[in-house]
């Protein structure tokens, strides 16, 4: 087997480099293409950003409209509920209606469930 040393390798790589140099693209045109590509990238980013901004504005507007609609709905519901609560009467409300005398009388200091039962008896004993 033939021994290939560092110098041989360098020579072969050098020949490869020369061959590659023959098909080398021009630097300036490549840089110009890169610059153009950069510009188109930027403009596409800008236009994308514009679309994103428009979409965001539409979303915000939609959220505001939905929020307002919900708010209005809940207010109407609350008003209806208040109205029904204030006008509602239980079926036995008539039984609970106090007389004018009961309302004017001071509340008893010591009241008991036996108030009405016990007082006539005690009165009799003292007599």
């Amino acid at each position: 087997m033939t021994d290939i040393n560092d110098e041989d390798l360098r020579t072969r790589f050098s020949a490869l480099r020369n061959d590659d140099g023959r098909v080398e693209p021009e630097f300036r045109s490549m840089l110009d293409r890169a610059a153009r590509s950069s510009l188109s990238d930027r403009s596409s980013v800008r236009s994308n950003m514009r679309w994103v901004a428009v979409a965001a504005a539409i979303l915000v507007a939609a959220a505001l409209i939905v929020g307002k609609a919900r708010d209005l709905g809940s207010r109407q519901q609350a008003a209806l509920a208040t109205q029904t609560i204030t006008t509602w009467q239980s079926p036995t409300a008539g039984l609970l209606q106090p007389t004018a005398r009961d309302l004017l009388a001071p509340p008893p200091l010591l009241s008991s469930v036996f108030d009405g039962v016990a007082s006539p008896t005690l009165q009799l004993k003292t007599d």
Binding site: I4, L16, G21, V23, R28, A34
Partner: protein, 170 residues
């Protein structure tokens, strides 16, 4: 500042082209695309030079990274859009099989021998013998430790010399 950057890139262009070819399996179209993309990243400041290494080492690093990204992107695209037979066809095309056939025998032998090496071995040998870099500089471009680069260099050189020697004997 921008003009200075362009001037420095221009001075390195031949070497960058050679490195881009090496990173793209010697596919000219892909190498051109990769190099243009790397220039774009540099001039648009998406890749910034912080002075940790030489400008050449940094540019080579950008090219290498861009080539890897592009290869992955293509591989992903191939996997998605073609069956396994189609994929092997496309991979052969990216290696520039048709281009290699046109080249001289020595050049073809060197390219074939390089292709048989591992990626890291191929890279370190290309950087040292083609671009006259030191192993330390090559390690920086490849983002590996100096020890690792040395190992790849020694093994790769031995393997390459054997393969080329066999070719010479034939």
């Amino acid at each position: 500042m921008e003009h200075q950057l362009e001037r420095e890139l221009g001075q390195l262009h031949s070497e960058s082209w050679g490195w881009a070819l090496a990173c793209c399996g010697r596919d000219r179209d892909l190498a051109e695309e990769v190099l243009q993309s790397a220039y774009l990243q540099i001039i648009s400041r998406r890749a910034t030079f912080n002075g940790d290494s030489s400008f050449r080492t940094w540019v080579f690093g950008v090219i290498r990274w861009t080539a890897r990204t592009e290869r992955r992107r293509r591989l992903f695209w191939i996997r998605r859009h073609t069956d396994s037979d189609g994929a092997s066809e496309v991979v052969d095309t990216t290696r520039g099989a048709d281009v290699i056939a046109e080249q001289s025998e020595d050049r073809e032998a060197l390219i074939r021998a390089l292709e048989s090496l591992s990626r890291r071995q191929r890279e370190v040998l290309q950087l040292v013998f083609y671009h006259d870099m030191t192993i330390e500089e090559a390690a920086r471009v490849m983002k590996v430790s100096l020890g690792s680069a040395r190992t790849h260099y020694e093994r790769g050189k031995k393997s390459l010399a054997q393969k080329l020697g066999q070719g010479v004997d034939r």
